[in-house]
């Protein structure tokens, strides 16, 4: 679940998890938003360790500081050694509380849920869209780093270690365990990437309010998610003014809502679910289970409501063509270029490095065009 801040992502993530459990799934609910609010919405404490919320629903908030203490010992140790001569050894930890690492920790947490084999469904309450997109971007950055940099580093370290030991400066050279830890991390993130980009298993759900600013931003997010290879299978329109609240003081707001609903209809060619503004605040399991029933009725919230592959290869008149769904984006906002064996697609401020299959890697772009919200790149 993602969307602009304050639209109701967390409540809908919990509702989705509770609803899925009533359909017989074993559900893990994961908060990947550094500003965790699962606990606030439930009125109980949820922390870094999994807690049972309801039969077949387990929840957890990913904490960077806790993860750090739990599973980063190798990398931490190296950084500490590097700083041994300093009084401020704790700086090493601060480095790891740095933004990019939060995303990484969240990605790993998804992998861990998969690894247990105990769950059928994982619902992720993501950070607001901007941070979520950064999270999706992370695997690419890491891959580029690994492909271009890592082996050189490792070989360099192996060669120089004995030398540096002789001059008592071995601390500056990472140990083999560090490289192992790093490689493990890379494999984990690659695994998560595979999970995220598999449109038959993983889909994004966008939560939106019928307000102009929110709809605008969500429309762009829809395209960005697709650019990162994540299929969006449904949109949830949250906090619609019900008829009994739409005639009085808020009549003008209700009018604006109708305009935005039309705009949502036109911008999101995917199934739409709706939730009203309730006469009181929703909080706790019972309220949110009711929200799930109101939104999904008898349908299984864990179903994949739209099957799509936002990035795909297609043969066209004997030529290989890469297609990327970019709904609602105009031609002027897109830039396409090849870099080595990657295709770099830039949409406004977001860029994605797409690893090309061997059959077209390194070939020049013959033609690129935007047709009906689909970017088509043909290789020579």
């Amino acid at each position: 679940m993602t969307g602009k801040g304050g639209v109701g992502k967390t409540c809908h993530a919990i509702a989705t998890a509770l609803g899925a459990a009533t359909h017989g799934h074993r559900v893990f609910l994961l908060s990947a938003d550094p500003a965790h609010s699962l606990g606030d919405a439930l009125g109980r404490r949820v922390g870094g360790r999994p807690v049972a919320l309801a039969p077949d629903v387990v929840a957890r908030e990913v904490s960077v500081l806790e993860e750090l203490d739990r599973s980063w010992s190798e990398i931490q140790r190296w950084l500490r050694e590097l700083l041994r001569d300093e009084t401020d050894a704790l700086l090493a930890e601060e480095l790891l509380v740095f933004p990019g690492l939060e995303e990484l920790v969240a990605l790993r947490a998804v992998r861990e849920v998969e690894e247990t084999g105990d769950f059928d469904v994982c619902v992720v309450d993501c950070a607001p869209t901007g941070a979520t997109l950064r999270m999706l971007r992370f695997p690419d950055a890491l891959r580029i780093f690994m492909e271009n940099f890592f082996d050189l580093e490792r070989r360099g370290a192996r060669l120089l270690r004995p030398l540096m030991e002789r001059v008592h400066a071995a601390g500056v050279i990472p140990r083999e365990e560090f490289f192992d830890a790093f490689e493990r991390l890379y494999r984990d993130v690659e695994d998560v990437r595979q999970i995220l980009m598999d449109g038959d298993r993983t889909t994004a759900r966008l939560v939106v309010n019928p307000a102009r600013v929110v709809v605008e931003e969500t429309r762009r997010s829809f395209a960005y998610l697709s650019l990162y290879g994540v299929a969006t299978d449904a949109v949830v329109v949250n906090r619609l003014l019900p008829a009994e609240a739409a005639g009085g003081y808020l009549a003008r707001w209700a009018e604006r809502e109708r305009v935005e609903l039309d705009s949502i209809e036109a911008s999101f060619p995917i199934p739409q679910f709706r939730a009203p503004l309730y006469p009181r605040e929703l909080r706790g399991i019972e309220d949110l289970a009711r929200l799930a029933r109101d939104v999904f009725g008898d349908r299984d919230p864990a179903a994949v409501f739209t099957h799509s592959r936002p990035i795909r290869l297609r043969k066209r008149a004997g030529r290989t063509c890469l297609e990327v769904d970019l709904p609602g984006i105009s031609k002027q906002e897109i830039d396409v270029v090849t870099r080595g064996s990657d295709l770099v697609v830039q949409v406004r401020n977001a860029s994605r490095w797409i690893a090309l299959p061997a059959s077209v890697a390194g070939r020049p772009i013959r033609r690129a065009r935007l047709h009906d919200g689909v970017l088509e790149v043909e290789f020579g």
Partner: protein, 393 residues
């Protein structure tokens, strides 16, 4: 120059509040700048003007801008990036790949703040209002100058170490010169000078953060945590804005009866929880609050007779006091008990960890060699006692 930064949970009305504050101040004669530091800009929508990345005049005494983060990143970060790129290139990495790698996490937050600070100083304004991103990003933005100073030192040292490993190898592979050690020193100096400036900008006596919230549980809970974290990093908070209170006119409708009852309760709760911070209130208007006139009206309801650029309360500071055989340190930490709290003395630093944030406070020399004997929470403060090490006195 007076600076007010607005933050709060997503969707509570930060942008409207920031714009209203600025319009109000400008109309009463202060030369005012309102800047949007949230990458999902909506300040232009609220002011009904097309805004650029540099200050542009929107009304007498009032300039506005929306930070263009990618461009500012290039402008302020360029030197550091160029250096990192050159470093990566020495290591045999293709330029475009190096560019990708040099997009350090956190760089965007820092350059956003740098841009606001630079434009604010250049323009010589009396009053600068900043519309920040939602709480977590804003906290990251505001605490980064301090955290980053530490982190960059580590990062640069890591880079230096890696360069010492790889450069000799790369030199054999490709004919490039060695990165001089001065390069590292320059980058460090540059970073630290700028970061120190930013830290001063955010924690200056004339700067305050105002927390915007609505009478909803989740918005209040998030504001409470933000209040703790801001205090931890000594970023002064001078008021709370309770936004979107249903007015009388709506209270009579059946549908809103429970909401109205709840908001009376919540307002009292917020006043108590955040005391002594003043709580300013604003109603949910019957239509979108956009355009200068509606913003000015909204500000009238919000501020009444209060001056929008006044420092509405002063935050307590960290204090030290001598006590029997040692020292007592008091760190203001409102609502510190609501989350897990860890306190440790490591070398010369006091390390405080709230749920998600950690601060290393360097201790004064007099205390640095003492031992932490006790720490407890008392009245919105963390009280830490230091005594001479056993057997050392």
């Amino acid at each position: 120059m007076r600076v007010v930064l607005y933050t709060g949970k997503g969707g509570v009305g930060k942008t409207t509040t920031a714009a209203a504050t600025a319009v109000h101040a400008a109309r009463s004669g202060r030369s005012t700048l309102v800047a949007s530091a949230d990458s999902a800009h909506s300040l232009g929508d609220v002011l009904e003007r097309r805004l650029g990345p540099r200050p542009s005049r929107v009304a007498p005494n009032l300039d506005a801008l929306e930070v263009d983060t990618p461009a500012e990143t290039q402008r302020h970060w360029g030197a550091v990036r160029d250096y990192l790129i050159s470093l990566f290139r020495y290591q045999g990495i293709e330029e475009v790949v190096a560019e990708e790698l040099a997009l350090l996490p956190g760089a965007e937050e820092i350059t956003t703040l740098l841009a606001v600070e630079a434009y604010a100083r250049e323009g010589g304004y009396d009053f600068v209002v900043v519309d920040c991103a939602p709480t977590d990003s804003a906290l990251r933005l505001l605490t980064l100058p301090e955290v980053a100073r530490g982190a960059f030192r580590v990062l640069l040292r890591v880079q230096r170490a890696l360069a010492s490993v790889v450069t000799p190898l790369a030199r054999n592979l490709i004919p490039v010169p060695l990165p001089e050690s001065e390069v590292f020193r320059d980058a460090e100096n540059l970073l630290f000078r700028k970061l120190r400036g930013l830290r001063d900008f955010a924690s200056d006596r004339n700067s305050s953060v105002r927390l915007v919230l609505t009478p909803e549980r989740m918005a209040i809970d998030e504001a409470l945590r933000a209040h703790t974290d801001l205090a931890l990093f000594e970023l002064p908070c001078d008021a709370v804005v309770m936004n979107r209170l249903l007015p009388e006119a709506a209270a009579e409708e059946d549908f809103f009866r429970e909401w109205v009852r709840l908001q009376v309760e919540r307002l009292a709760e917020v006043e108590e929880l955040f005391a002594p911070l003043p709580v300013l209130t604003a109603p949910l208007q019957d239509d979108e609050v956009t355009g200068l006139d509606r913003l000015a009206q909204h500000a009238d309801r919000l501020f009444g007779t209060v001056e929008p650029d006044a420092v509405l309360s002063t935050a307590p500071r960290i204090r030290f006091e001598a006590e029997d055989g040692g020292y007592r340190m008091e760190v203001p930490l409102p609502h510190g008990g609501s989350r897990q709290l860890d306190v440790a003395k490591i070398d010369g630093d006091l390390v405080i960890t709230t749920g998600t944030r950690r601060r290393c406070l360097p201790l004064p020399r007099r205390i640095a060699h003492l031992e932490l004997s006790r720490a407890n929470l008392r009245d919105q403060s963390l009280v830490v006692h230091f005594t001479a090490a056993v057997g050392a006195s």
